[in-house]
Subunit: 125 residues, 6 copies
Amino acid sequence: MTLDRRAKALAVLEQLDPDAPARVAANLDALSDDFLEIVLGFSFADVVSRPGIDLRTREMLTVAALMAMGTAPEQLEFHILAALHTGVTREEIIEILLQIAVYAGVPACMNGISAAKKAFAAQAV
Amino acid sequence: MTLDRRAKALAVLEQLDPDAPARVAANLDALSDDFLEIVLGFSFADVVSRPGIDLRTREMLTVAALMAMGTAPEQLEFHILAALHTGVTREEIIEILLQIAVYAGVPACMNGISAAKKAFAAQAV
Amino acid sequence: MTLDRRAKALAVLEQLDPDAPARVAANLDALSDDFLEIVLGFSFADVVSRPGIDLRTREMLTVAALMAMGTAPEQLEFHILAALHTGVTREEIIEILLQIAVYAGVPACMNGISAAKKAFAAQAV
Amino acid sequence: MTLDRRAKALAVLEQLDPDAPARVAANLDALSDDFLEIVLGFSFADVVSRPGIDLRTREMLTVAALMAMGTAPEQLEFHILAALHTGVTREEIIEILLQIAVYAGVPACMNGISAAKKAFAAQAV
Amino acid sequence: MTLDRRAKALAVLEQLDPDAPARVAANLDALSDDFLEIVLGFSFADVVSRPGIDLRTREMLTVAALMAMGTAPEQLEFHILAALHTGVTREEIIEILLQIAVYAGVPACMNGISAAKKAFAAQAV
Amino acid sequence: MTLDRRAKALAVLEQLDPDAPARVAANLDALSDDFLEIVLGFSFADVVSRPGIDLRTREMLTVAALMAMGTAPEQLEFHILAALHTGVTREEIIEILLQIAVYAGVPACMNGISAAKKAFAAQAV
């Protein structure tokens, strides 16, 4: 059962970024394999994989939340790229940036622009 | 032109809540009518009315951002109700609450549950 | 298994406040019983019940985190009371308030004082 | 010396609101008189009373910071009123509200409008 | 009209940093020229250029808000330098840092010290 | 007396990291020696040195608060290392990371993991 939970979390992560499972697992397991089991199990196996909202829209929501919070720039860049992987367009990312300027302020938008530029460049490779 | 901007902002606000324009205008104009012209003009006339993302999805993004920030409980309640008005379902609000538990923590989700209950009750009237 | 997870979460919650399980379950289940299963399952069954740090110290950490964040005053009051239930003294709560004044600022400390006063009064009943 | 520090803090507080010293001292001393000595001593005796920026401008800065943070609505209301007491005009408070809409987002501005309305009403009494 | 709004925004930006308009326009236009028109139009043409508070004091308020928020270190550095350009002294920046230690905590002050050191070094060039 | 306050603050800082006093004093004094006297005096001489909670537990609280806030990654790394210096184990840091995933969200936990890895590596040297 524990293996299933870990495997299920990594399978969702793979949908967000095909290269992420190996990298993220290595990063987390180096500290404690409880992170993948408990934290990513909660995130991806329990929540993000639920059918009530499609993955593409979930990534738009996550991008909006992370832009608004402003405390996780690397994860914002990861989720903008994941959003692109799940079918969100660059034009939609730009609309989210404008929406966040309204609700979280211009500096949050500017930080988001920096993250978006990195994600767009990573996608272009 | 200024009247157009004010009128356009209030027209978008009316789509979010048919009762809001009169109430919000009275609230803001009591302090300075620049708020409606400049701040709601920026919010609604310049950004939220843009066609790049439909209004229903924009409200989902706003709900996610406000839940994650945790600093505007009344506006969160307003935008959950506005989301319902634009076609978001209660089931989708529940999914956003779970998504926010992952990305902003369980207390942010619990605050969101309180706001959602109030919005659901207001909708039922 | 699902029942076990729910039951385990409620058993930890009962250690924090004997009256909480019935109240919290009713509050969450009214919206969706997934919250108790998924969100409190993660919080209490997966994390807070772990033996690596005792429950008393965990509550001190939670109180410090919620005071610093400043976005969940009701949950802060709940966890100050829970901290008292698990053996934290009022003197220690006062020390946490001073520590938070340093690391999150005087307004965070003042908000914490309001929550502490309510929790102390609730304990006295 | 300790008495001097306490007295100096209360003297600055009195400049912000003539009624505050008795109320604040009673509120804090009920929990521990270390708060007034250490926390308000730091705030008012060590920092706010410094001559490098006049008290009127300091209150404008404090209002901007508290509006941007969004986690201390009661203290924001107190400092808007204190700003008015030190000579800041209502027109300047409105300008700060607009500036905060830019740098912290429209919801922060809206929360600030609520606090400003309460402070303006309290001043009018 | 659109050109006027863009030009007006860039003219205010030039007062904050003579080198900024070309750099900022290139940075934003690479993604979408709507950012300059809508977001900087709102920021600078609609708000920061208003006469109700002079530009020097506005920059002090922006520095205080950004230090308190703690989520935009690059923009904090930019606005500390802009504050110096508009006549704010280094001594006043130090006073704002102390004021922010009180209202947003010592880590916010320490982050602000890092930004101030970079801005002071950039000014010295 | 002023010298005593400065000396006392640096003595507490030395308990957190034997190399810190010289480095921190040089960093702060370069801007103004008021920071060490006033800000670190408040932090360490007035608060952290109080006997009501032992230094080891205080560092756990500070780590929890900084992880939850998410705005001071360098200070978080410093305090994780300081926690290890005062006797907190790596296993306890991992428990705090899990606790913070619950109360501040998974991105706050992930940022904390990055800081913990750097602190663990610095300790190993």
